[in-house]
């Protein structure tokens, strides 16, 4: 965020560097059941992002001291493959992925009926295979689908979506150039049925009006992504693909 450049991110017609309108999402494709060994899994392509998520559990939580006597713990692990970004990323958790794993775990916990599974862990593994900005929101969307596919009882699906500001314009779903050279990014995770906000982060420089515009833009788009999620799950059980 905030790196200086001469690149113009919004052209004279108000279009973005990839030709999108300010409030337009990148193309999104989702599927469930990619990882046969897991209890549930999902794959998402969102712009240039390619992310796979898999769920194991509920299963007895180890090490034992992490167990909670009255509920399950939801442990998400966000991990980027070494080859997922331009310059090779050193494998293993860095500070960024530790933080993202934490906020994603917390957001997913807010929807799962964790009290149904005391002393267990629900492990959610999110692997970013190719990164193109917005990996945490695409990742949490895939994670939510994987949880549903695993049959974990939840009070809603979670939809991740981000908005931000580039060249002074509030825009939806930043791509890589916009993320690098833009002025702000607001990643969110939303429970579309109730409109609750389960994940909210922000960095950059925004006025109150810009920030609320961005949040409203992301929440509107969440409805669209929500119907894609539902359609993806339904089509799996209708057997559309077989």
């Amino acid at each position: 965020m905030g790196m200086k450049s001469d690149i113009r991110l919004i052209d004279d017609n108000g279009l973005r560097i990839d030709g999108r309108l300010p409030n337009q999402l990148r193309p999104i494709k989702m599927d469930v059941g990619e990882v046969k060994r897991a209890n549930g899994s999902a794959y998402i392509e969102w712009g240039g992002n390619k992310i796979i998520a898999a769920v194991y559990g509920p299963r007895e939580a180890y090490p034992k001291h992490v167990q909670e006597s009255d509920r399950a713990i939801v442990r998400a692990r966000y991990n980027m493959a070494a080859f997922s970004v331009d310059e090779r990323k050193r494998p293993g958790p860095d500070r960024r992925s530790v933080e993202l794993s934490k906020v994603i775990s917390e957001a997913l916990t807010s929807v799962v009926f964790v009290e149904k599974f005391p002393r267990t862990a629900i492990d959610v593994y999110i692997e970013v295979l190719q990164a193109d900005a917005g990996t945490r929101v695409a990742g949490i969307t895939a994670a939510s689908l994987a949880l549903a596919h695993a049959g974990i009882p939840m009070r809603d699906l979670v939809v991740g979506c981000a908005a931000g500001k580039v060249d002074g314009v509030v825009v939806l779903d930043l791509n890589k150039e916009e993320d690098n050279f833009g002025e702000a990014d607001v990643p969110m995770a939303i429970l579309p049925r109730t409109g609750e906000i389960a994940l909210l982060q922000m960095d950059g420089d925004l006025t109150y009006e810009e920030l609320t515009n961005a949040m409203e833009m992301a929440m509107d788009a969440a409805k669209e992504i929500y119907s894609m999620e539902i359609e993806t799950l339904k089509s799996k059980y209708r057997g559309d693909e077989e």
Partner: protein
């Protein structure tokens, strides 16, 4: 998942008491919902550091030391100094802190404070170039939590800003010109809120933090811009709640900022 930022269990009776008080618009320590605990700032506490501040936010105590050394710039930002932040949750500060590598709580804390300072461009990093593309000043902001009684986000953010304000770039020591005051051009202040029942209170103390369902930190600067946000814990916020919290953080942040800049030594709020 054991939460390091709580004592684990708050008595059911205390939990009920806190909620009952909220119904009457007050809190367990007598504060109103938007009242921040007394802030005490002692700048220059560590003489060996290039800038430092010992900050008390109620009973929470954080010491921040800033060290500034020459180093190599990042290849993609050859004309810019570097800042890094780190938080140590040392075990003497709480029975729930353990020795060892930084916990995820410590990493999150450091990154949230970092975002506020970085995104507001608080430090004029372009003034920290010694030799373009070769040598720049690296500003290390190290936060040491010494007593944990809730709301480390704000205590660390306040202490970091106060320590930066206190900092001098030690150019003479490294033979690259005269010492100069660290160029600080913006003043980001984080304000953290906790959701307890349906109530949202600013600057949660330890009891409040332990029973909070959700947490939201909003960092704003002196121009009324929002520079960073971080939601935490297992609960959710409605959009309406978030909007109100942002507005409250702008007001509260301004008051806290005046205290940091005015040097709140010894005085209670």
């Amino acid at each position: 998942m054991s939460n390091k930022f709580s004592e684990g269990v708050v008595a059911e009776s205390k939990r009920d008491y806190i909620k009952k008080l909220a119904l009457h618009g007050t809190r367990i320590d007598g504060r109103g919902f938007d009242d921040v605990r007394p802030i005490n700032i002692e700048k220059g506490f560590i003489k060996r550091a290039d800038g430092s501040a010992l900050v008390q936010l109620g009973d929470t105590k954080v010491l921040v030391g800033v060290k500034i050394e020459p180093g190599e710039p990042f290849p993609d930002t050859p004309n810019s100094g570097i800042m890094t932040t780190n938080v140590e949750l040392v075990p003497l500060a709480s029975p729930t802190f353990e020795p060892g590598p930084p916990s995820e709580e410590a990493i999150e804390l450091a990154r949230v404070v970092d975002r506020g300072i970085r995104e507001s461009h608080a430090i004029d990093l372009e003034k920290l170039v010694i030799e373009e593309g070769e040598k720049v000043w690296v500003v290390f902001i190290d936060m040491h939590v010494l007593d944990y009684h809730g709301n480390l986000f704000d205590a660390c953010g306040i202490a970091a800003l106060a320590a930066l304000e206190d900092a001098t770039v030690p150019a003479e020591k490294f033979g690259v010109g005269e010492d100069f005051k660290l160029p600080l051009v913006h003043y980001p202040v984080p304000v953290t809120f906790a959701k307890i029942g349906d109530w949202i209170v600013a600057d949660p103390n330890l009891d409040e933090e332990s029973i909070a369902k959700a947490r939201l930190t909003v960092t704003t600067n002196e121009e009324g811009k929002i520079n960073a946000m971080q939601k935490g814990l297992f609960g959710t916020f409605t959009y309406d709640e978030v909007k109100k919290v942002i507005n409250r953080s702008l007001d509260i942040g301004q008051k806290v900022r005046e205290k940091i800049l005015g040097g709140a030594d010894g005085e209670e709020n």
